[in-house]
Subunit: 184 residues, 2 copies
Amino acid sequence: MADPKKHASLFLHEDSLHEAVELLFFAYRDFTGVADALLAEHGFGRAHHRVLHFVGQSPGLSVSELLATLRITKQSLSRVLKQLVEQGYVTSKVSGLDARRRELTLTDKGQDLQDRLAKAQQDLILSAYEQAEASSVDGFRKVMLGLIQEPLDRARFSASAPQPRSARNPSAGAGTHRPLDPRR
Amino acid sequence: MADPKKHASLFLHEDSLHEAVELLFFAYRDFTGVADALLAEHGFGRAHHRVLHFVGQSPGLSVSELLATLRITKQSLSRVLKQLVEQGYVTSKVSGLDARRRELTLTDKGQDLQDRLAKAQQDLILSAYEQAEASSVDGFRKVMLGLIQEPLDRARFSASAPQPRSARNPSAGAGTHRPLDPRR
DNA sequence: TTTTTTGGGTCAGCCATATTGACTTAATAT
DNA sequence: ATATTAAGTCAATATGGCTGACCCAAAAAA
């Protein structure tokens, strides 16, 4: 599948690529949109949602790991993280192993909000999966994985859609949805 | 495919949905990222890119049509549109049919920038398509279409991935990538 | 042990992008 | 003649990014 001569047979012409650009724009707009109302009720924005998501996904995550995943600066994170901690959605406690690190976890309140945010987005994804054929889901996964440039981010997703051997993380197991790796 | 009992057989469990949430986050982050450097060279941001894209896609588009597609307010658009017009990337001329409307088009300079922005994103999509199997592309399209909530936006994409009859726009032709519809 | 590096936090200021509400103008529709 | 529409503008505000400059404490390296 790495043969560039195959384009014509794959319908990988201008038009198909142009269409994909718009699909990404509209799909992402609506995907984020379904959580916005819920966030607004709490006076939060998408930045808060991302923190809730990744902390919920990897309890005990450190601030610097979170920064690396979000690709924002410490100063940008601190504003939203401070609000989440002060309002009791996230706890930050000193690590036992390395007292410089703060381990972030969701409180029950934070978990509850995150659950409701995740449900809104997952309901949308479920309906998209239901409208497509069963086989579409795997194709969707593979293309989305290919769009992720950073190998360490790709490595969060294991199972199918193998990357070229040269780019694979040999320690990535064969399970599902590998938790966050300590990195950077 | 609308039977909710089919979930187990489709692997539509919690985990698959959770994974899709993250795929969308990472893929969109990197998809937009590839255009950012180029935009920054011109002192532009993503808002400018979106205007260049949709005006390039539908020359003669009016301001209110553009507003409806972007889902932002007139005030938000006016700043970026003014810059694009003043710097010679976009032309705004009074419509012959309705003198209230302004028809927006790209200048050669604007088309050139838009071409380069589109190429950066299309190269990424192409590489994602190449890493996947040929059949994945159609699955990707179908799932992405299902994520688009607004029927009028879905109607921009014709060909495969039929929606339920009840939700289809009967006037949507069978060609590829239908241009913007006048609406709202 | 002294020094350097790392993880975290903070201050100040800036920029881009979005919002609401109010108002004007001109052109079209009723 | 009046109402509606399309576009533009003003002012004020919020959010979420950024840079640069610091500080502290803990851990790692010299």
